[in-house]
Amino acid sequence: MIKQQASEDQTAVAGNMWKVSISPHLKSSESVEKIMWTVVACLLPPLILSVFVFGIQTLFITAVSVISCVVVEALSQKALKRPVTIKDGSAVLTGMLMAFVIPPGVSPLLPILAAVFAIYIGKHLLGGIGYNFFNPALLGRAFLLASFPVAMTSAWLPPVDGMAIFSYLGTSIDAVSTATPLAVMKEQGMAAFTQMFGSGASLYGSFFMGFRPGCIGETSSFLLVLGGIYLIYRGYITWHIPVSVLGSIAVLSWIFAGENYFSGDPLLAILSGGAILGAFYMATDYVTSPANKTSKIIFGISIGAITVLIRLKGGYPEGICYAILLMNPISTVLDGWFKPKRFAPPAGGAK
């Protein structure tokens, strides 16, 4: 009950109606809400672009995902008799990220189910924000992938022609669905991949700008990187995790992903399969990533290595989702191993 005591002390009001609390009396203007809503804002440009790439369907599926996450958060907190904190933006962010990692052509029922699993089981049953040890959005995706494997691996939409953003409404998804680049590469080989998506500069260009099949978060690498750099500039995330994740994916893909050693395509490896979304927005989630700089780099490199391992040897074309989920619970362990350096140990050796 110390927690309650602390909050009461914080707002205890003296006889003169002045507030009395323990120092510091000055606090920075940053807040959890500000951080969460800023990240949400950084995800808006790729979302808007996705409407022009895949059609209005992406907006619809994102709205369903966000609304169900917020509703599930409110209901969970009510049911668990905790203060309702939907205004802090964390459920909105989870909803957006979840919509970004599922195929845009799936039935709206899927994100609703995923929201229940991610927010109620994955977050609030474990203690709420700060105590969940898996990234809720990725947990939702993993749950869907296990429960609806066909929809989750086939409901991809090819980019629309011109501005025909409403063209998929009313049509059966099966009629238009296509395969993602990594799936083509994995299942049909490099030749089919080159035939389908081209090669060289035009390939990188279309992947970087977002015109190729995939989920929302896999499309516009350019806008996602832009948002990520803004978050680093604001000090909300540090470079350690994104750089180590992407760097290790690039290096390991270059070594192992080609026909021979050292002949893989590192740029393609980074630009495909949601690596950028994962590196900047998922792996950097405060709660489920380490806090110390050294552990952050180890955490990032491990995620990159597991991603490449799953992509090359595993059963899925894409690996970063599971790589992050596998490393999430290890982050506290890493923080336990790599403690911050103390100012100065006691004289006569550290205790």
Binding site: I2, S7, A14, N16, W18, K19, K27, T85, G128, Y286
Partner: protein
């Protein structure tokens, strides 16, 4: 200008808010009708009263003495009569023994004769510092004569004068460096003589360029005859004025955990303490006056006041024209480490450096939420601790298991709680941890 130095680990940049009072010269506040002197002004044993009720006292006369243990005598700041020996409200210890003095109406200021301190030997100077009741007036309140007599096992080679004044709002030291410049430099030389060393650095943050300039000139003029005094400009970063951080910034030496600065051959004194040493050694004048910054939007007229120790805050408020609507918090000390008080009955002590009257928009009263483990507190902590873990442990009722996180290294600067986006009362958690955890 010399390159700006600073400490290496952690630290934060809160807004400075110093403009309100930085330009206001030190103003002498008229003596109120009554003073209330807390008997425990310093770290160590509180004084025992040497006067009785209704006794007449003279300005500068001893009214309390430490009979056993660490401490310094307490002097009457005025001519007057002992009204009561009772208790007084104290921001931390609720109620403490104190002496109340009714100020005489026909008081005459005593004349302190100037002496040349060069002709007084070390031991005699040290005695004068003790007799004058000088303590570290920067905040800690450690008896100065003890600090100036370090154990022979740890020889001292450097004196640091602390003019960093890194807390927002406060400008009392800044004003004293501008207005009592020569006295502070002389005080530094007296301290150097007592310590038997020659080197003194004065650390001043670069947001006080006028003080750096004036003090540098005086330091240069005062150097020679075996004394080297040098002003070292510092980057603006909180908590630069913390003893260990200041020592690292200027000398590069790191004071080990649980150790005193003398362990690395350094003695640190506040610039205002140097002025008090000067008054004690040259005039034999005891320490019973204090320069206090009064600031914030909640007070009618902000000021830097020279007040008698024992002046009640209420009297200061009346003198400055009263309170302003919207006052939310009254703080004794700076906004980062000061104590919020609930009554204007609290008297000024020798260690009071500021009284802040803050309105709703100047303080943060947002409720705290769960830790999101962003790790910002790890980056902010100047001691390399893990405040977030300590907070989580304390919340989970495991306060006694927090010693491995280094709770006892924490000097409660509040940098962690300042940056915390979840507004967690981390200093409060750490204080709880300190109460329960076992000291290594």
């Amino acid at each position: 200008m010399k390159p700006l130095l600073t400490f290496t680990k952690g630290g934060v940049h809160p807004p400075e808010f110093k403009a309100q009072t930085a330009g206001l010269g030190i103003e002498v506040m008229p003596v109120p009708q009554e003073l209330q002197l807390i008997l425990g002004q310093h770290i160590g044993a509180p004084c025992t009263p040497t006067v009785g009720k209704r006794d007449e006292v003279k300005e500068g006369g001893i009214i309390g003495e430490v009979t056993k243990g660490l401490g310094v005598p307490l002097h009457s700041p005025v001519d007057g009569k002992i009204k009561d020996i009772g208790t007084s409200t104290h921001p931390l210890r609720m109620s403490v023994p104190s002496i109340t003095i009714s100020v005489a109406e026909d008081a005459s200021a005593p004349v302190y004769e100037k002496q040349d301190w060069h002709n007084i030997d070390k031991a005699e100077l040290l005695k004068k510092v003790h007799a004058a009741g000088v303590i570290g007036v920067g905040g800690a309140g450690f008896p100065t004569h003890v600090k100036l007599n370090p154990p022979s096992s740890s020889p001292v080679d450097t004196l640091l004068l602390n003019g960093a004044e890194c807390e927002p709002y406060i400008t009392a030291d800044h004003r004293q460096m501008l207005e009592n410049t020569e006295d502070i430099i002389e005080g530094a030389k007296i301290i150097l003589k007592i310590l038997g060393i020659s080197k003194c650095y004065i650390g001043i943050e670069s947001n006080k360029p006028d003080a750096i300039e004036k003090m540098s000139a005086a330091a240069q003029a005062g150097s020679g005859n075996g004394y080297t005094i040098e002003v070292q400009p510092l980057q603006v970063k909180y908590p630069q004025g913390s003893e260990k951080q200041l020592i690292e910034a200027i000398t590069g030496r790191k004071v080990p955990a649980m150790a005193l600065p003398s362990a690395v051959g350094v003695v640190v004194q506040n610039v205002a303490t140097a002025k008090a040493v000067y008054d004690a050694a040259v005039f034999g004048k005891p320490l019973y006056e204090k320069v206090v910054t009064i600031a914030g939007k909640g007070i009618k007229r902000p000021a830097n006041l020279l007040v008698k120790v024992g002046t009640r805050i209420g009297d200061i408020v009346d003198y400055l024209g009263g309170l302003q609507p919207g006052l939310t918090k009254v703080i004794m000390g700076g906004p980062m480490m000061g104590f919020a008080i609930s009554s204007l009955e609290v008297p000024v002590t020798k260690t009071t450096s500021a009284l802040l009257f803050l309105t709703e928009d100047e303080v943060d009263t947002r409720p705290h939420s769960q830790c999101i483990r962003c790790g910002w507190c790890l980056d902010a902590c100047p001691m390399g601790l893990e405040p977030k873990e300590i907070g989580i442990f304390v919340e989970a009722g495991k306060a006694e298991d927090t010693a491995p996180f280094g709770v006892f290294d924490c000097f409660e600067c509040g940098s962690c709680a300042y940056v915390c986006p979840a507004k967690r009362p981390l200093v409060q958690f750490i204080r709880m941890a300190k109460m329960k955890a076992k000291r290594p």
